[in-house]
Amino acid sequence: MQLSPSVYVSGSDRDMLSASKPMRILLSSVSSDSHTWNLVFLQLFLEFKGHEVHNLGGCTPDSEIIATCEEMAPDLLVISSVNGHGNIDGERLIRKLRQNDLLSDLPVAIGGKLGIHGVEKAQHIDWLLDVGFTAVFEASSSIGLFEDFIKGVSAQLSRPEAVGAMS
């Protein structure tokens, strides 16, 4: 489990957590991954935490994810994938998102079983952060860490002066 420095929740940000505001979150799998139980759970979880969730489901082409981001301008994009291709599909997707002027600063998290060799060989985590993801969660990450991340993004959105730090 790693987070990029920009979303580590610092001491002063912790005070903001209780003030975090509901977000509009876009949830999706990647183009080659058909699994959906992960998406069903994440939707229930994020809604339970008070956020509005638009769930694009499984096997979503990059173009549909990007078009939906442009249209709904979400506060956060959450990508979940468990078929082992998440590192390939995720890299391709995030490069396209970061090249898009409207979406270059959008907080984007990816999580799940992202490679075919299991957690012990998960070299792709640093790589995925390098190519533009805001946070990367491997399958062994706890839901508590994901929740901290969500709170962190929400808190930063509540502070206009901190928005720049997200990029």
């Binding site: 699994h35 959906t36 759970f41 096997c59 082992g84 390939i88 999580g111 079983k113 969660f137 399958a139």
Partner: protein, 438 residues
């Protein structure tokens, strides 16, 4: 019929056929894996699992990922084509070792063409079962595509070289679908295959949360198949639990052993196994062989009595419910493909927790106090719900996670009652475990 012949011989010898999930992007690894399965100390069928890019028809990305050595999660059969695949299988596939291609593709005509041209014995899927759980191809398109695929492999009932086709209908979404709907889907897809001239078929059922309910379900499935699929040559294939899997080696093996007992008591001829690696990653060949041999030796050690665990009341209940679903759909239209499309449009069939746009999404299931799957809501399906008091109103994500993890918890912690643990608190410490390998 080659496949059916092999199954019949096994049945006559009172042997369970075991089968892994296995797919590699390199020809040598794929061949080595199949060779190892063939040599295993178990009566086995070989599996070629296709990669996810091939499943969605993105052969270009599959080819590119191979060039860049990025590692595919299966065998890209269309990229390789029929000749190369035939060569890879040379000397491996045979009368005593049939091979099945497994994918998960809603528009698989190119895959079927390679299967036919390469002379592969069997494949699996179906117009609904390979569409609704697998992404965003519209159901009507999948039904058309599967009709063309069936037409491609259609053969006379006594054709010795016919390709065998398994319905994945009894595995919808892997977990949380009550048995009656799983059985109805298997029967309806079997009828679809038969209508399009495919006679050698198998009907699937995935092990769910309760042994007594599952044994009853398999009996109901066989009775319905006798009634509706008399013109086909069919057998029943059981899947070891496909939901969130135990993490411990002991828990995994106990669950696999329970599925072997279920195959015995429910009368399944073939078992698709899971390995101890399931909760963690795609299994190695060695882990697959271990699972096949463990399944096979468990079968040998079972007592000959098959009548244990049969609950007549449960079987009748499941049979009645599945019958109502099958008959309601058959009454919609004489063409099963049209009837299936109309059934999902009208909500006569409605898969719980399925995100596909052509599924109404009005049904909801739960696990009752006895550990059995029940309907909390049935939407517009012509059956009756038994709503749960506990799951009133909006579904709590942690209740949901607890249901998904019921089997995993029972097998990993056999002496530990989850009822004693505050589920909200407990779940925060639990990792984001989700079922991953169909």
């Amino acid at each position: 019929m080659r496949f059916a012949r092999f199954v019949r011989a096994a049945m006559q010898a009172d042997q369970l056929i075991v089968q892994p999930r296995m797919g590699f992007d390199s020809l040598s690894e794929m061949r080595a894996g199949l060779t190892a399965v063939r040599a295993a100390n178990a009566l086995s069928v070989g599996t070629i699992t296709l990669d996810s890019y091939t499943r969605v028809g993105d052969h270009q990305t599959a080819a590119l990922a191979m060039q860049e050595h990025r590692g595919l999660n299966g065998y890209p059969i269309v990229v390789y084509g029929a000749d190369v695949t035939k060569g890879m299988l040379d000397g491996i596939q045979g009368d005593n070792f049939p091979i099945q291609v497994r994918h998960g593709c809603a528009r698989p005509l190119d895959i079927f063409q390679v299967i036919k041209d390469a002379g592969i014995d069997a494949t699996e899927g179906g117009p609904v079962s390979y569409c609704l759980p697998y992404g965003r191809v519209p159901l009507a398109e999948s039904i058309d595509a599967w009709a063309r695929c069936c037409d491609l492999i259609a053969a006379r009932a006594d054709e010795p070289e016919a390709v065998h086709l398994e319905s994945f209908g009894g595995c919808m979404l892997g977990q949380m679908c009550p048995p009656s709907l799983l059985i109805a889907m298997s029967i309806l897809e079997g009828l679809f295959f038969l209508q399009h001239g495919v006679h050698s078929i198998s009907l699937s059922y995935a092990q769910q949360t309760d042994q007594l309910q599952d044994v009853a379900a398999l009996h109901a499935l066989r009775l319905l198949a006798t009634e509706h699929l008399g013109a086909a040559d069919w057998h029943v294939v059981l899947y070891t639990y496909m939901g969130v899997f135990p993490r411990t080696s002991q828990g995994s093996k106990s669950l696999l052993a329970e599925s072997v007992r279920l195959a015995r008591m429910g009368g399944a001829q073939r078992l698709i196994v899971k390995t101890v690696a399931e909760a963690h990653r795609i299994p190695t060949v060695a882990e697959n062989i271990e699972a096949l041999e463990f399944g096979s030796s468990t079968w040998q050690s079972l007592p000959p009595d098959k009548s244990a665990w049969f609950n007549f009341v449960l079987a009748v209940e499941i049979y009645d419910e599945a019958s109502q679903l099958v008959n309601a759909v058959r009454n919609l239209h004489a063409d099963i493909g049209v009837a299936l499309r109309m059934a999902f449009e009208s909500g006569y069939l409605d898969i719980p927790y399925c995100l596909h746009k052509d599924n109404q999404g009005l049904s909801r299931s739960y696990i009752d106090a006895a550990g059995r799957l029940q309907w909390h809501a049935v939407g517009r399906m012509p059956i009756t719900a038994k709503p749960s008091d506990r799951h009133k109103g909006r579904l709590d994500p942690f209740d949901f996670l607890e249901m998904l993890s019921t089997v995993e918890q029972r097998f990993d912690n056999p002496h530990y009652s989850t009822a004693l643990v505050g589920h909200h608190h407990n779940s925060v410490c639990r990792s984001l475990a989700v079922p991953s390998h169909h």
